[in-house]
Symmetry: C2
Subunit: 80 residues, 2 copies
């Protein structure tokens, strides 16, 4: 069994309202020294597969079809 | 400048509708071999601080006050 971690972030230049709101909230709570906050997403997929090379291809395909929007998202896959 | 990555996941036993819906969607798209999907969240906080020990304390405090709900969330902090 393999575990794939898919980390999905916004491409550079795409607005990140969730991160910006978190930054604002931290400032309102009195935290100084916060330069930037960005929000990302992780999907952990447990696969009933044994071959890492094949699993990598399958997960890549899942990202393109379901998890990531290629217009705004970058994604990284790490298999364990 | 330090970068803190805060990874927030659901505690064991807490329902994960986002992960379950992703699993269902993968099945509908024809992927077999998917045992489980879980969804997590990452906040990347850029801090204008130099002392990692102090930054760790500050970020820990941010998690307790803003990012994580202690009833349902577990969190991990990694500083870089």
């Amino acid at each position: 069994m393999l575990k794939a971690e898919i980390r999905i972030g916004l491409k550079k230049g795409v607005a990140d309202p969730e991160g910006q709101n978190a930054k604002k909230a931290l400032e309102l709570l009195g935290y100084k020294n916060v330069n930037d906050v960005s929000a990302e997403k992780i999907f952990v997929v447990q696969l009933d597969m044994k071959d890492p090379a094949e699993a990598q291809k399958v997960v890549e395909n899942m990202c393109q079809r379901l998890f990531a929007n290629p217009v705004i998202h970058d994604y990284q896959i790490s298999l364990q």
